[in-house]
Symmetry: C2
């Protein structure tokens, strides 16, 4: 057992922050939280070690629920080119390089290092169609000691030849990944049809069966742009909507993550609600690709869970703090566009999305409550102006300041399941 | 004379970057550029010193054309509160503190240091109504060796009592500032009515006369929100539009900067065109305050000059690179909203706004052309992936990557008018 004493900030619900100035989080040797205490309620004496974090903030670590690891080398570039050129000149050729295991090692190592540096301890990741590189990515997460759902990408139509796999290859690849990660406690496989246009009905059917048989989560893309939706409806004329295509194959479940959802129809909304599917909001990506503003308040009001993703390399940065910031800003623009009839997202709402809700895909992760795994960040952004004054107001202010213009150098420690994860 | 040899990138026009791999900029002892040469066209030999910047980028320094120095302590906080509460609980009480010269010294020193750190070498700044603190701010810019137009803010109505000055006080304060900065080559006064709601007709008239008599630039706010516009039209019922209020008092000129312009009417557009007024686009601020998306493409197509501002503390960061990024992103959302009928801003367009166009308010500043002052940044963001390959494509990519997720630690040197400016 060990106690961490610092300015504790977390979101048990999306409505408000719980803030404990110089509070204590007690963690057992398996990395599970045993108790959380306000400063004057700490029940232990000298019998357990106390790690005193001084005047630093202690917050849950970040979870990134949508990110393309093989696009890491393209992060922050080719932002001015139109979508088709972006895919064909930058994205697909880059992904094709992951047939080369040494190239994969170079980029995936940098990717995992950068995730950790930015404070992200768990991620739902798209890899590529290449099994060896995908197994390697799992190794790298495991060696680093952070968590991931890793998806061997399935795509068998409307894609470059060198980026297509067959149904058998896709199923077999994920089976290999499952076998390979059997003894990796924090790393798992996730069923990953790229999106409807690149997956045949046979592929979707086989993936759905594999998800059921092996009890796996599922991730894909949904309603990112209007052109894409029109294309899906041409490809699948019998479907009632984009989401309905996934639904017909049993791919919308409580364990499904669908990225984007910028333009959901009422039918899509109903299916998401009914199936308990989670939407991964990727605001920086939606800006950079000029997709549009996702109707997050409408999704939340319909009871659809919404979490956050960096969507690198359409998103330009792995920092989930930047993603939070962007989510709030886009919701404010949406509010302005709708003449204040739609309320903007609050800081506690987006923080909850990136911590407790995102974390729920990895077990009891993302909050400081009894029974949760201790995934945490220690933040040092004290400023001379706030010297020695700490109460809920000033600590909230420090967190907000960090979200809006903090940097990785202010993240002093990172923990995943109770273990400190070091950066390079 | 001295020559700087590095990967030179700048925007002589908004249409495209000029990129010179391992090119040369030759600067005389007064900090003025004497020549710019491609690698194989350099005409000098050993007779002048060459500063070899290796594989680093050399770009023009940033210019911030709208920023509130006294709000620096509020940067990145209180982003969730509604506008009126934001003004009354955070902004106005903070500005009132600048009656205390020691408080002003603390915050203004940090502000100027942070501007330099972020690579901004010239700024158009709102101070407060307080003359001593405003003179001090001018001293700090001068001592640091960077440029500024500094505005003693004029406000005599609809504002807290402790933040109002009389017409005489406002005029006299600017006269003092002019006398005080007479021997500061890079620092000047700028006429600064806060905005129409806080300035009486007498105030606007007197400020306009002072601007004419003393040949000064003018800065204020225009059409930031619809509520503000309605308020202005109630206060000034005879005016044809918001801009027309300024115009009637002769405050729209070739040397006028108007921040925001999110909701210009056709009449506003016509007056801006006719007078040659420059708009300062503040995209991060327009997001954070839920003001809306400014119609920048429409302004540009009407021939209205548009530059960029951080608008701290409504903007959450002094980095003009973040402001550029946000300007592009908002223009892409605007494009999506208008079904691609409005084109998004390109990287060269926003770079030009923050360098050559913004710089034009401070003399020949913001470009690497003969006769321009050498305001420059040296950027080291080489990555192992791009090792030793440099051509226009890879250098463009490096610049783009820096704009989207560079950081201040990658800015290795900063120059203003030929002199290196050190950070703390």
């Amino acid at each position: 057992m060990k106690a961490y004493c610092g300015h504790i900030i977390y979101t048990p619900t999306s409505l408000a922050f719980e803030i404990l100035p110089k509070g204590y989080v007690v963690v057992n040797d398996r990395g599970i939280i045993q108790g959380v205490y306000a400063s004057d309620k700490y029940p232990y004496g000298n019998e357990i070690e106390v790690v005193d974090l001084g005047n630093q903030l202690l917050i849950p670590a970040m979870n990134d629920l949508h990110v393309h690891a093989p696009q890491f080398a393209n992060m922050g570039i080719a932002m001015d080119v139109p979508l088709l050129l972006w895919l064909n000149k930058y994205t697909f050729p880059e992904e094709a390089k992951f047939a080369d295991i040494e190239y994969a090692r170079t980029i995936y190592t940098q990717f995992v290092d950068e995730l950790v540096k930015q404070g992200t301890m768990r991620a739902a990741v798209f890899a590529t169609i290449h099994t060896p590189a995908t197994l390697l990515l799992a190794d790298l997460f495991h060696q680093k000691g952070i968590g991931a759902h890793i998806g061997l990408v399935a795509m068998d139509r409307n894609s470059p030849d060198n980026l297509c796999n067959s149904v058998d290859e896709a199923i077999e690849g994920t089976n290999e990944l499952l076998a390979h990660t059997k003894n990796y406690p924090l790393v798992n496989a996730i069923i990953t049809p790229r999106f409807v246009p690149s997956c045949s009905p046979q592929m979707l059917r086989a993936l759905s069966k594999q998800a059921k048989d092996r009890h796996l989560s599922i991730q894909s893309h949904l309603c990112e742009t209007t052109n894409e939706i029109n294309w899906v409806m041409e490809l699948e004329p019998e479907a009632l909507s984009y989401a309905d295509v996934y639904h017909r194959y049993g791919l919308l479940t409580h364990d499904t993550l669908m990225a984007h959802c910028v333009y959901p129809s009422d039918i899509d909304m109903g299916l998401l609600q009914q199936t308990g599917t989670t939407i991964v909001h990727c605001p920086t990506s939606n800006c950079n690709l000029a997709s549009g503003i996702a109707p997050i308040r409408r999704l939340l009001e319909a009871g659809i869970p919404v979490t956050l993703g960096s969507d690198v390399a359409a998103g330009h940065d792995l920092s989930m703090f930047q993603v939070m910031q962007s989510a709030i800003q886009m919701s404010k623009l949406n509010s302005a566009i709708h003449k204040r009839q739609v309320s903007a997202l609050s800081l506690s709402e987006v923080f909850y999305m990136a911590t407790k809700l995102g974390g729920s895909f990895f077990g009891k992760v993302g909050s400081f409550e009894v029974g949760y795994e201790f995934d945490a960040l220690v933040i040092d952004n004290d400023s001379p102006m706030h010297d020695s004054i700490y109460n809920s107001d000033t600590l909230y202010t420090r967190l907000e300041r960090f979200v809006y213009h903090g940097n990785v150098y202010q993240i002093k420690k990172r923990y995943c399941q109770g273990k400190e994860i070091l950066i390079k």
